[in-house]
């Protein structure tokens, strides 16, 4: 997030796109509700009539996967109606002329044909955001889990730069991170293109720095992403170490993922449970989990916070940092003589320009938001206040692309996936917490009541959901949250593995899977058939 969580109470116009915030980030949503109670205008763009949409002053029910078209048309209206912040654009951006040329043809009427949102509503949304004193954008996986995920984010950036809604209280472009420490994993260099602190691996200066620090020659070439690596299992990729991630259930195209992991010569998994992924491993290492280790998480507003051990891990389970240290020592890798997580964290901070101003003891307060470039620096709750790190903000020229697969005669319905409040990701954790089983006993397929009738389904009855990759059975729930022609299912439950269906494409830049969109066929399952399906 460019802005701190507490800024969520400050905007006068809020634009939420592809974020089911009341379910995925409930405590953050509470702050937005406060802003709305104080008079802020809320615009929500989402294919599903989620709870946030019910709260909205303006709801834009766009077709799944059509975000770019909506955002292009909003940019068009902002330019057409003279709502560009000329002063900001002149002082802090570049490329506005090319952008204005580019968006001239992307009218709201054009976007209506793609998104299904009335042109007049697109205009209203653009005017509201364009005229805002403090306009803030919030988004989540609904925007990034598409083949055009990067296009969507850059289209949002264009709106921000055109209107100068950045670098001030209550503004900004604010991705809400899903998992508790996804931000920290990226910060720490667990990505194929950057060392710790987002230092590019392609930069020879960084290569020299880490060659010295890690005691061996570093490659200048980016690594493959996880998606590409799974594709290459059994060929270029022969051995994998996986930490605490139920790769099999959470990745799209599950049949492919299982095959990939099975074709490895050597798979080592660290986890707290014998997950579906761990069951395929050659070696399973029992890890200490939440409340059993000391360390740090970095949250969605870049705040670094200490987590503490409150109980002993069960049996012989050990903290991940210890396990990796021991493994590295057995392999003779130098530089792994850590005796505490404190030693690890202090090395991380000293190697990272954005954590350079803190260490284990300073981080104790939980008051620091990165970048903290030097000791004595107070941290940076709000990014881009005085300028952009890389000079001027660049407008990007983005076009609209269809999803990797579109509906057809065989697969006439859009399936979109997501998460529910009570369940968390693949359920290896909450699936075992009794309180949560009670709240959400089984997964359902959300279908508009008129579609339930039209397709011969029954509310509470079983349906078979098929895509080009496979099929699953699931209980139907009639609800007006789903629009006509679009159904929703969460990916939380292993007994309804929707990721057998999904996985039709990836964003060419980030290779984030297109989990949000998948054309399917929905058929009623009659009683006699139910006994036969595996």
């Amino acid at each position: 997030m460019s802005n701190p969580l507490k800024d969520m109470e400050k905007p006068d116009v809020i634009f939420c796109i592809g974020t089911n915030m009341t379910e995925c980030h409930p405590v953050a949503a509470t702050r937005l509700k406060k802003a709305v109670a104080n008079g802020a205008t809320l615009i929500v763009a989402d294919p599903r009539r989620i709870r946030l949409a019910e709260m909205a002053h303006l709801y834009l029910p766009l077709r799944v996967g059509s975000d770019t078209a909506l955002l292009l048309a909003m940019a068009h209206v902002i330019a057409r109606d003279g709502l560009i912040d000329q002063e900001f654009v002149a002082a802090r951006t570049e490329g506005i002329d090319r952008l204005l040329e580019h968006i001239r043809d992307f009218t709201p009427e054009w976007a209506e044909t793609i998104t299904g949102v009335p042109a007049a509503d697109i205009e209203t949304a653009a005017r509201l955001y364009g005229r805002a004193d403090r306009g803030a954008i919030y988004y989540t996986l609904g925007v990034t889990e598409h083949i055009c995920g990067v296009d969507n984010v850059q289209s949002l950036c264009n709106l921000v730069l055109m209107t100068g809604n950045i670098g001030r209280e209550g503004t900004g472009i604010n991705p809400m991170r899903g998992q508790n420490n996804v931000q920290g994993a990226g910060d720490s260099g667990a990505i194929p293109n950057n060392y710790v602190g987002f230092q590019s691996v392609s930069d020879p200066a960084n290569q020299a720095k880490f060659t010295a620090l890690y005691g061996r020659e570093m490659s200048l070439e980016k690594g493959p992403t996880k998606v590409t690596a799974l594709d290459r299992c059994g060929e270029q990729i022969r051995a994998m170490l996986i930490d605490g991630e139920n790769t099999l259930v959470s990745d799209p195209d599950r049949i492919h993922g299982e095959h990939a992991l099975r074709s490895l010569d050597h798979l080592v998994v660290m986890d707290i449970f014998l997950s579906e992924t761990a069951e395929l491993a050659h070696v399973v290492l029992p890890a200490a989990g939440w409340a059993e280790v000391d360390g740090h998480y970095t949250n969605t507003e870049r705040r670094i916070q200490r987590v503490r051990k409150a109980v002993e891990p069960p049996g012989e389970a050990m903290p991940d940092w210890w396990i990796i240290t021991q493994l590295a020592q057995k392999m003779g890798i130098p530089g792994f003589d850590y005796e505490s997580p404190k030693a690890v964290f202090n090395e991380l901070c000293s190697a990272s320009p954005i954590y350079a101003g803190i260490d284990w003891d300073l981080a104790e307060s939980g008051q620091y938001q990165w970048p903290i470039p030097y000791k004595g620096h107070p941290g940076t709750p709000r990014l881009h206040e005085d300028g952009f790190i890389n000079g001027r903000g660049k407008f990007m020229l983005i076009g609209y692309r269809d999803p990797a697969e579109v509906v057809s005669a065989d697969f006439p319905v859009w399936l979109t996936t997501g998460r529910r409040l009570e369940s968390y990701h693949t359920n290896t954790q909450t699936g075992r917490a009794e309180g949560i089983d009670y709240l959400l006993p089984r997964e359902t397929l959300e279908v508009h009541p008129a579609d339930v009738d039209a397709w011969g389904l029954a509310n509470g009855g079983l349906a078979r959901l098929s895509s080009r990759r496979g099929s699953v059975e699931v209980v139907v729930e009639a609800t007006e949250r789903s629009p006509r022609g679009t159904v929703f299912c969460s990916f939380a439950f292993n007994d309804v593995p929707v990721n057998i269906l999904t996985g039709s494409g990836y964003d060419p830049i980030t290779q984030t899977a297109e989990l949000k969109v998948c054309p399917v066929r929905v058929e009623a399952l009659i009683e006699e058939e139910i006994g036969l399906v595996a």
Binding site: L141, R177, K309, I324, F336
Partner: protein, 145 residues
């Protein structure tokens, strides 16, 4: 307000930590007794949550003490099944397999996937293990979720 005295009399200890479920990062007090978690309280002074907590953060901690937790290292033997073993043997087999893959198929044949749930210390060491061990950037995490 909580009165700390009765808690201490009941043998309950409070440990300040952060919820492990989503990116908001709500600060919590983990209440424990006899090495078991007995409750979670929101931290009133938590910078991200200021005393708020959602249903996940409040109640979904039973998994910590679930009987299905892994308690011993496991290795796959000739019968194709996973069997419990010592840390020393499990780590040795793990290490040998990576060294063999690197020797036979090159250092780029080894890949690491870090977690978006573990503390940053684990993520940092996962990437260092790949980079310092093999000189490649064959590392990613589950940034998707």
């Amino acid at each position: 307000m909580q009165n700390p005295i009765p808690l201490m009399e009941a043998g309950i200890t409070k440990t300040r930590s952060v919820c492990g479920y989503c990116g908001v990062g709500c600060a919590v007090d983990v209440m424990t007794r006899d090495n078991r978690i007995v409750g979670i309280q929101p931290a009133m002074d938590g910078p991200a949550n200021e005393g708020a907590l959602c249903v996940k953060g409040q109640f979904a901690y039973d998994f910590v003490h679930h009987p299905d937790r892994l308690t011993r290292p496991l290795v796959r033997r000739d019968d194709g099944k996973l069997h419990p073993t010592t840390w020393d043997e499990a780590l040795q087999i793990a290490a040998d397999g990576f060294l063999r893959a690197a020797a036979e198929h090159g250092e780029a044949s080894v890949y690491g996937i870090a977690s978006g749930r573990t503390p940053s210390e684990a993520d940092y060491l996962m990437q260092k293990w790949v980079r310092a061990g093999f000189g490649t950037h064959n590392i990613d995490n589950c940034s998707r979720a």
